[in-house]
Symmetry: C4
Subunit: 229 residues, 4 copies
């Protein structure tokens, strides 16, 4: 069932390793099939070296395992909350990638300081509020999804396809698992450049019209970057 | 047509990847043939893995595609403005390389703090002024070329073969595509070292006579570095 | 004798190289067999390229060589002091890994700033007090073990399986040599992220209930991360 | 002539590349034969990829080429000045390695902040005074050697086998070309760790007795690190 999506999710998980975004068993990618409302996700705490496409776990939208012999990622309830909150997305990535996590730990939104950022994220990448003690002690992973949705409130999730969970790390998403990985790679890169810019001199955020120009030349109706499909 | 230059531009683009200066489809290299006034440039948004020399696009000096089935880089008008402004150059590189971009985002010229810098750039690498809203909304890429030319005004473009476009990233150039890549590699390295020097202690710029000595032992009439041709 | 443990210690030493935690001949891993009270440890100052499992040195708990033709690591007395002080551990790693050593040199405990840290270390990683002149001039390596034990005093050694020896570098441990290496890799990563967080903005330590949640979802009776054994 | 030394110098130059200490054609290693008073050194500005052991240039102690068809490194007069000033050394390395160069550009001696440093350098690594305009404009490379010797004045060159040339970069040395490369690798590593320590919190220099203990357990009459020869 969902063999194509399992293969996509499997490859996207391996791409996290290839791009240097994860250590040990950290990190997970999922994909969501809107027609069947089923999620495919990496199994919990499994070594990337040993994993096969068949190990991917299929759950329903409540998190019940529909197919697979392994436990799904402990972060599954977060993924499911996001698929519910953001109806246009089809893939989610969670990592503890070094630079994005450093911003999350500093408790600061990642400011848009240049066009590299503007090419992918239409404004600063928000940081979530802290979870309360109650939210942590009950349904922690699901509540993590809710505070992420809250941080994006009022925004098109695909225009800012990333968030920093405070004291934790980044989640990114996209129309597919591969798109979510692409955004995770670029988030890490712009987090790296921004940390350096801040250490050189306190930088100002990018001008609004430059932000719009770069975001819109890659995305939206009049995009002119890249080849025609 | 221009098969040799297409091969040179193709190889120079792959060298950006090999030297770690680009991620995903970022970055582009072009070459310019002064005799025919034709430019060869990387196609827009194309994966480095799939690209061949035949995919390089040939345009005239107004940007019209003369040969090739793909769209040229969206930054083509910037390249063309530079070939017009700097008559001695034959190759241009644009990247969002991490450290040079960090300085561009900080809005600071890259100061000449040591002989590594002086070996390649005869003084600090300028940062452009910001583009105005009008310049961004109309002919953005061409205007980017004009503000670069303005930042170099009064200088020999080959003596400072690099610029930082504010809130954006570096452009470098040289007598050939390969020379422009070489300068892009060294710009990134001196941007890295300078960021570290600044974090250790506020450094002074290099003494003028040491700057001259190092630049001129590698370049100019009495250069004595390297083997005789 | 202890062939399985020699193989484990040998492989764990090579893993230090593979994970980029050591340069030249720095670093060492040992394992301890509680039944026989014998330690297996890397030979002193030996190149990782030339080492074989048979080169591992077996000593008794007083440091006398029981098997092997090479001198054991100069840090052997430190390892033995730790095996005596921490009866639940079975493997120890010592490195001068870049980021953990930077914190040790700064003389600061490594604060718990996020869940990556909390997943492995149940609170901040302590820094030892400085050794006195007398402790340095007599039985230096054994005294290093004693100040480490002192820094952990009152804690379960497996709940904080790492320490920073002031002006020196990290030691990590675990139930096996492989577990100690795993903790060394994660210590270096969280030291890296924490150094970045500090440079972006002075961060607050993680909330206590989030620390507990993450530590306990991976460790302890009700852990739910990973697959069932 | 001097075939063994040429091979050693050749391999030591390639080791600079392997250890990531040089970019492009930067960097050079030499060896000195005390019996014949001849130096073997890398040719100037030559690509590491194309170089063979036969390309190494032999000069006398005044810098006259005795064997070889290529020009010796432009830094040859610096090397020769050091072989004259430091009679116990047999190999010299010059690089613009990133972290050591950052300290040289900051104009600061590299402080001894921990035992990694103390294992190799018996105290802080000095930074030279700036050269005067006259010293730069006449016999620049030879004068560079003289200010290095001045910075080490009164010290055993083998006890501090490195220096930072202000606004320039590091030179290291040892009893052989390979030993000089080993010191260049460790200088870069301790420069990296020290830059990080400084960014975390202003650190104090290592205690004198700890410095002595670590330096002397690896060097000197009673050294006990490593295997017996």
């Amino acid at each position: 069932m969902l063999e194509k999506l399992k293969e996509d999710v499997f490859r996207a998980n391996l791409d996290l390793v290839r791009h240097g975004l994860v250590r040990m068993t950290f990190g997970n990618v999922s994909g969501f099939d809107r027609a069947s409302e089923l999620m495919v996700i990496k199994p919990s705490g499994m070594s990337y070296n040993e994993m096969t496409a068949d190990d991917m776990v299929v759950t329903d939208k409540s998190g019940n395992v529909i197919e697979g012999t392994l436990k799904p990622s402990t972060d599954s309830p977060t993924h499911l909350a996001l698929y519910k909150s953001f109806p246009t997305i089809g893939g989610i990535v969670h990592t503890h990638s070094t630079y994005a996590t450093a911003w999350a730990q500093a408790g600061r939104p990642l400011p848009c300081l240049g066009t590299t950022h503007a090419d992918y994220f239409h404004g600063s990448v928000p940081v979530t509020r802290k979870l309360t003690r109650e939210e942590i002690e009950n349904d922690y992973e699901y509540n993590t999804g809710l505070v992420i949705a809250g941080a994006l409130a009022g925004r098109d999730a695909l225009s800012i396809p990333a968030v920093l969970v405070q004291s934790h790390g980044p989640f990114t998403w996209g129309t597919s698992p591969a798109a979510a990985v692409h955004n995770a790679v670029m988030l890490e890169e712009v987090a790296h450049i921004a940390a350096l810019s801040v250490s050189i001199a306190p930088p100002a955020e990018i001008d609004r019209h430059l932000l719009d120009r770069h975001y819109l030349r890659k995305h939206g109706l009049n995009a002119y970057y890249g080849q025609k499909d």
